[in-house]
């Protein structure tokens, strides 16, 4: 009993079809608490679609999703978020005209049920503002706290995208290519942030850079054409000849 | 009874000719030109001027109104509308309401605020009996002309090369552009034809709809209803929507005059609530 902790997140025969394309094909998957799991696969494999299904951004065509053993398949995005599921987007979804501090406060207010306070000015809950400022400081964004988000460098916007997800203190965090497009020198910073997350948060990371994946993940799933191709520990995947052939091989060709 | 049905159908077909250009441009460029009625008004007032002041035959007014509004449309499209395609719907609405206001004031300035009367040529006035019902000859004339136009439009869209390009552009402008379709050119041409049809509709409507400066505002609402019911992805959708609207409006005003005005608005709101993509559409409008 103690060996197999109850998974925090499970899917059962999950399928998503866009017209003729099956973007997620019969995926049955489970994520144990505290997981450091990487989801890899070539472009168009259906990774983002999978995250969209988990977070409720897209409705599933068939199959089920369980969060802490509860069937959340028909839950709204909002209810899943409230239940502890947070995500980042491959393409930044930020508020260009707000400041990072305000952006984080939006999330914290929501978590603390403080967002319905309509009379007291923003900032009257100094405990929440301090928490937001501390989170920004942790991500090296403290100096830009009051700047316009739209004026930040891309790498910093990427960090803010993660910070929003962290602000809701999630139990499960889905990171969709958090380092994509971030300049070489700043990528490590993104990964350090991810590595420093509390151990009890269960993580799914989508990433193309194999070095980062192997440094971060304890377990890995490979998605090909929407279906789970192989799953295993980091070492198993690293050794698996099929993965080399299908995924790593392709990547080498793409690079070459 | 049958008379009312006939009147309703005639009215609906007229609405279709008036509105179809707007539906296509909305579907094509996702651009909402509320000022579409101004082109109809241009055609209507051209008819008034040509007939009442110059004494030109009504039959000549129809093609003239088409050409006049089409040219007006293409000029405005190239000079002004073009700049608005990538703006928000709110901006487009504000802009076209601005144009409506200007058109209303301009017509008021030139022609006065009172409704203009257009006298039908003798060959079109009077009534005939069809299937036991008294039907105005002019209503019959409207049905025939609009019917021919509808068939012609349907033919152009379904069967010609231009039509297939138009359909491709409506379905997905970016893909069509990628395939080498000159979407901008198609749009200018469609805009011209759509405005021209509105002008023609205005001319046809001049004897039966009241032609006064508030025309574009009054009919803007009808156009919106046609769009909300018929959708913008086909022309059959707006066609049936127009007929439905025409019959409902004429019938409603005849049978239940007190609440006649509600019927159409209520239909519109109900459709928008229960089928936001339109009653006569298959795929969702973008």
């Amino acid at each position: 009993m103690s060996e197999a902790p109850k998974p925090v997140l499970e899917t059962c025969a999950l399928r998503k079809a866009f017209g003729g394309i099956t973007a997620t094909d019969n995926v049955t998957f489970s994520l144990p608490p505290g997981a450091r799991h990487a989801l890899i696969g070539p472009n168009g494999a259906g990774k983002t679609t999978f995250v969209n299904l988990l977070s409720g951004v897209l409705p599933a065509t068939s199959g089920e999703i369980y969060l802490n053993g509860v069937n959340v398949t028909n839950w709204s995005v909002r209810d899943r978020a409230r239940a502890g599921l947070a995500r980042t987007f491959q393409i930044n979804q930020l508020y260009a005209d707000l400041s990072p501090l305000e952006t984080i406060l939006i999330a914290i207010n929501e978590r603390e049920n403080a967002a319905t306070s309509w009379f007291r000015p923003l900032g009257s809950r100094s405990d929440l503002v301090d928490e937001a400022a501390a989170l920004l400081a942790q991500l090296n964004l403290a100096d830009a706290m009051h700047a316009r988000v739209g004026s930040l460098a891309y790498g910093r916007q990427r960090l803010l995208e993660i910070a929003i997800a962290l602000a809701s203190k999630p139990q499960v965090l889905l990171l969709d290519e958090p380092a994509a497009g971030v300049p070489e020198g700043e990528r490590d910073q993104v990964l350090d942030v991810v590595a420093a997350l509390p151990a009890d948060v269960s993580l799914i990371l989508i990433e193309h850079d194999m070095d980062l994946v192997f440094r971060f993940a304890k377990t890995i799933s490979v998605l090909v054409n929407g279906a789970l191709f192989v799953e295993g520990t980091r070492d198993e995947i690293a050794r698996d000849p099929r993965v080399r052939q299908v995924y790593l091989g392709e990547e080498e060709i793409a690079h070459g | 009874m049958l008379t009312i049905l006939f009147d309703g159908v005639a009215y609906g077909m007229l609405l279709f000719v008036l509105a179809v250009g707007l539906c296509i441009t909305l579907g094509l460029m996702n651009f909402i030109n509320l000022a579409h009625g101004a082109f109809a008004m241009a055609g209507g007032y051209l008819t008034v001027v040509m007939m009442n002041r110059m004494g030109i035959s009504f039959y000549w007014c129809l093609p003239a109104a088409f050409l006049f509004s089409a040219v007006l449309g293409v000029v405005l499209e190239r000079v002004l509308y073009r700049r608005l395609y990538d703006k928000t719907h709110l901006d487009q609405v504000l802009f076209s309401i601005g144009l409506i206001f200007m058109a209303m004031a301009a017509v008021d300035y030139a022609m006065g605020a009172s409704p203009q009367i257009v006298k039908l040529p003798p060959s079109l006035s009077g009534r005939v009996e069809i299937l036991g019902a008294q039907v105005g000859i002019y209503h019959l004339f409207v049905i025939v002309i609009c019917g021919l136009l509808t068939i012609g439009l349907q033919f152009v869209i379904a069967k010609t090369r231009f039509g297939s390009r138009l359909r491709a552009s409506v379905d997905d402008g970016r893909v069509a552009r990628g395939l080498g379709v000159n979407v901008t050119g198609i749009f200018a041409l469609t805009f011209a034809v759509g405005s021209g049809l509105a002008g023609l509709g205005g001319a046809l409507g001049a004897p039966i709809l009241s032609m006064d400066p508030s025309f574009p505002l009054k009919y803007m609402i009808f156009f919106l209803i046609v769009i909300s019911i018929g959708g913008t992805t086909t022309i059959t959708g707006p066609f049936f929507a127009s007929i439905l609207l025409g019959v409902a409006d004429v019938g409603g005003k005849y049978f239940v005059p007190e609440i006649g005005g509600f019927i159409i608005y209520t239909i519109m709101v109900a459709v928008l609530i229960f089928r936001p993509q339109g009653l006569f559409t298959r795929s969702a409008a973008r």
Binding site: S55, V57, R78, A81, A86, R87, F89, Q93, L94, Y95, A96, D97, L98, L105, I106, A107, N109, E110, A115, T116, S117, W118, F119, R120, P121, L122, G123, R125, S126, V129, D130, H146, I164, S168 | L80, K87, L90, V93, L94, F95, I97, G98, F101, M102, M104, A105, D108, L217, L224, S228, E258, I259, G261, F262, Y265, M268, V269, L272, I273, P276
Partner: protein, 337 residues
């Protein structure tokens, strides 16, 4: 760094919401117009009222990003609600009390707003425009058709409000009307200002900016939109009630389409998303209307249209947006030299 700003982030956020000198100057100017233009008091009261209507639209459009073309419906419903209260309560003191009338006007309009808010949650901007317009047209139709209650197209005659607080009765010169409209407008504005500067207000901006993001943060987007739409409708209703009470008359003109269009224009003209845009827009709009209206009354519409067209083509953010761009340029020049 901004001078005086406390360095703690919470303090900074609080500091930003303080009343500024130019805000105080604005309201002081509004109040002093009583002494500067004693012959134009009715006009000025109407400016406050139109401004308040535009401010209520700003709540939905400028802060929550909901496009509406039918705010006139709530204005009109409020106008008639207050009018009916004043008319039928004429003899019996408590019913024709203006403040009670405003309360009823706001409640009725708010109730209509709450019910119709569910219609604007779905669909695109375009469907929202059409639904709100449709609702406004239905209300207009009801008002013109229900002749027995509303007086139909002749308007509601015999509106007689009791004196405000039982002391100040509405006079011919509009003195009471002026202070009454100013104070009610200010109180409502103050309420809106608190609202948009709160956590709730920030969450509205989040919805306007990116509803998907707001949902993934765990925000109940629809609930918030229903709330703000209802609040805005209530304030529109209050402004409608104010107009009836200060003019002692309600007409179908108050629910007409051009009411919604004017109010939207006023807001866009002044600049949406700043709250003050509606008020400033109303001043300019009404003063221009009065000025041009005296020369060529029927062509006023032409200039309104022209302004709208130019605004959309060339000016982002209306008057306030222009002022801010000017200040930006000015301060940059100052730094450069």
């Amino acid at each position: 760094m901004i001078p005086d700003s406390p360095n703690k982030p919470a303090g900074w956020l609080l500091w930003r919401t303080r009343w500024r000198w130019y805000e105080l100057a604005f309201w002081a100017a509004a109040a002093s117009s009583f002494f500067i233009f004693p012959s134009k008091l009715m006009l000025i009261s109407e400016i406050f009222i139109l401004g308040l209507l535009a401010v209520s639209i700003d709540l939905t459009l400028g802060f929550a990003g909901l496009v509406t073309l039918g705010q006139g419906a709530f204005f009109g419903v409020g106008a008639y609600a207050a009018g009916l209260m004043a008319k039928y309560g004429a003899g019996t003191a408590p019913f024709s009390d203006p403040l009670l009338g405003l309360l009823v006007a706001g409640s009725v309009a708010g109730a209509l707003g709450f019910v119709t808010s569910f219609l604007v949650l779905r669909g695109s901007d375009l469907t929202r425009l059409m639904v709100t317009l449709g609702v406004a047209l239905i209300v207009e139709e009801i008002v013109t058709q229900a002749k027995d209650i509303t007086g139909g197209s002749d308007g509601l005659q015999g509106v007689m409000s009791s004196p405000v607080l039982g002391v100040w009765s509405f006079d011919l010169y509009g003195r009471t009307a002026f202070w009454y409209a100013l104070i009610v407008t200010f109180v409502c504005f103050w309420f809106c200002r608190r609202l948009v500067n709160s956590s709730f207000g920030l969450s509205l901006l989040a919805i306007k900016g990116n509803p998907l993001r707001a949902r993934t943060i765990g925000m109940p987007v629809n609930t918030r939109l229903v709330a703000i739409y209802t609040i805005a409708a209530t304030i529109s209703g209050i402004s409608g009630g104010l107009l009836t009470q200060t003019t002692q008359f309600a007409s179908p003109d108050m629910v007409a389409f051009h009411r919604s269009a004017d109010a939207l224009l006023i807001l866009v003209f002044g600049g949406s998303g700043f709250l003050y845009g509606g008020l400033i827009g109303a001043v300019v709009f009404r003063v221009m209307q009065d000025f041009i209206g005296n020369i060529t009354p029927q062509y006023w519409l032409f200039w309104v249209g022209l302004v709208l067209v130019l605004l959309v083509l060339f000016v982002r953010g209306g008057i306030i947006g222009m002022l801010m761009a000017l200040r930006e340029r000015f301060s940059r020049k100052g730094e450069g030299s």
